[in-house]
């Protein structure tokens, strides 16, 4: 039984195959419209998430399958104290594949050990969110033509942002990747990313505080939200907050083909005036997220891409 718990569960070859399939789905969505007919996806969301849950549901519906599930712990048997292990055993009798979001880190792994159906981690606390990483990778690959030879700027909360850590770990497996890490000192990437991932693999990177200083170097700018409560004092927050707000003026410093990505939801770290810039790719990212989840569901269910002639 194959599950997806962490983006690193996939080898580079598996990842490339998955992204190839997702790209074909994006190019020929009709060809895949009945691939999962008769199959059911259970979305077990122990905490609210609009985007991820609806993206999974849209993915399954696009494949001709159906969905069932719950969208908060209050409306599930967890409110009665049922364990994750028991819930997944029961859900295994109802559905063919499950996507689980849980506030506790490692909950999807516990589910995978007892499950009779493939389990997808749809986010477990601050730990992993592999389908966001797949979405980010597909967006970069589709819009840049590949995953190598890129300078990637990661901006904002690099300490607590799980999507940032997973993206770094995934991208270092490709050729000629360089990172520019833009954050306040309080929110630098954790030591284990710097030491075990970047230094150990001899990846070129630099750490800076001001986004303006490095805009012109970047092929990709991955924005994340800096929350006020992450700062140790109000003064630092006020001094630095504007460094991490992307606006038209900063976009003028960027390359003409630089892409702006954001895992969303955006609060105020990207000014709305940037949305109309052709380089703003965060809403396209949401669309790619559906395609990559379609490819993932098919892959974990062992469903091959239909022959074009059969459609």
């Amino acid at each position: 039984m194959k599950h997806l718990l962490s983006p690193m569960d996939l080898s580079v070859e598996e990842l490339d195959q998955l992204l190839d399939l997702a790209s074909d789905i994006a190019a020929n969505p009709k060809k895949y419209a009945r691939c999962c007919e008769g199959k059911k996806l259970a979305t077990l969301f122990y905490e609210p998430s609009t985007r991820t849950r609806l993206s999974f549901e849209a993915a399954m519906l696009n494949l001709g399958g159906s969905v069932l599930g719950f969208s908060s712990a209050d409306s599930s048997s967890a409110a009665k104290g049922e364990s994750v292990s028991d819930t997944i055993r029961v859900i295994s009798c109802y559905a063919d594949i499950a996507a689980i979001r849980h506030p506790k880190e490692g909950a999807p792994m516990v589910a995978s050990t007892k499950s009779l159906i493939p389990v997808i981690n749809a986010g477990d606390g601050g730990h992993q969110h592999p389908t966001q990483t797949l979405t980010d990778l597909m967006t970069i690959r589709s819009l840049k033509g590949g995953l190598g030879n890129l300078t990637i700027g990661l901006c904002g909360d690099l300490k607590f942002g799980r999507t940032v850590h997973s993206l770094i770990e995934s991208l270092v497996r490709y050729e000629n990747i360089r990172f520019v890490l833009i954050s306040p000192p309080e929110l630098r990437v954790p030591d284990y990313i710097r030491e075990d991932v970047l230094n150990d693999k001899h990846i070129e990177y630099k750490e800076v505080q001001k986004l303006e200083d490095v805009m012109g170097e970047l092929d990709i700018l991955y924005m994340t939200r800096v929350q006020k409560e992450r700062f140790f004092n109000e003064e630092d927050y006020i001094r630095m907050k504007d460094f991490y707000v992307l606006d038209k003026a900063k976009m003028e410093l960027a390359k003409p083909d630089m892409l702006v990505l954001h895992p969303l939801p955006r609060v105020n770290e990207i000014s709305v005036e940037v949305d109309d810039d052709p380089r703003a790719s965060y809403f396209k990212q949401a669309q790619f997220g559906v395609y990559v989840r379609m490819a993932l569901i098919m892959t974990l269910l062992g469903i091959a891409a239909p022959d074009a002639k059969e459609v």
Partner: protein, 142 residues
Amino acid sequence: MLNVGELHEGIVLDHIQAGKSMDIYYNLGLDKLDCCVAIIKNARSNKMGKKDIIKIEGSIDLVDLDILGFIDHNITVNIIRDSVIVEKKDLTLPKTITNVIRCKNPRCITSIEQELKHIFVLTDEEKQIYRCKYCEEKYERH
């Protein structure tokens, strides 16, 4: 010099860091054994200055070598038969360790899931780093 009676058949855990023998006694569950167990604290040692020693009258099966390797892989394990050392076991860092240490991450699923085993995995042998199997939180030795 204090003399502890000769061990005819059993196990001697030697070169325990001075002061650590009681931790090992409880972690190995020796307190639950029926057989004779001797704990020698602060014995003189040429190599270590001071050391602790535990002598157990019984078979090697009574000692979980994985737990012992996790606690301190420099401990010497001697198997005694007919009052003679017949075998010395080398300890290594175990690949996984179950229900010996607990994950301290309050956001980890182990904090709420009923009867879930606390499993740690050796992720970096050189740096001797163990991480929780579920949340990947690093175990900090004190």
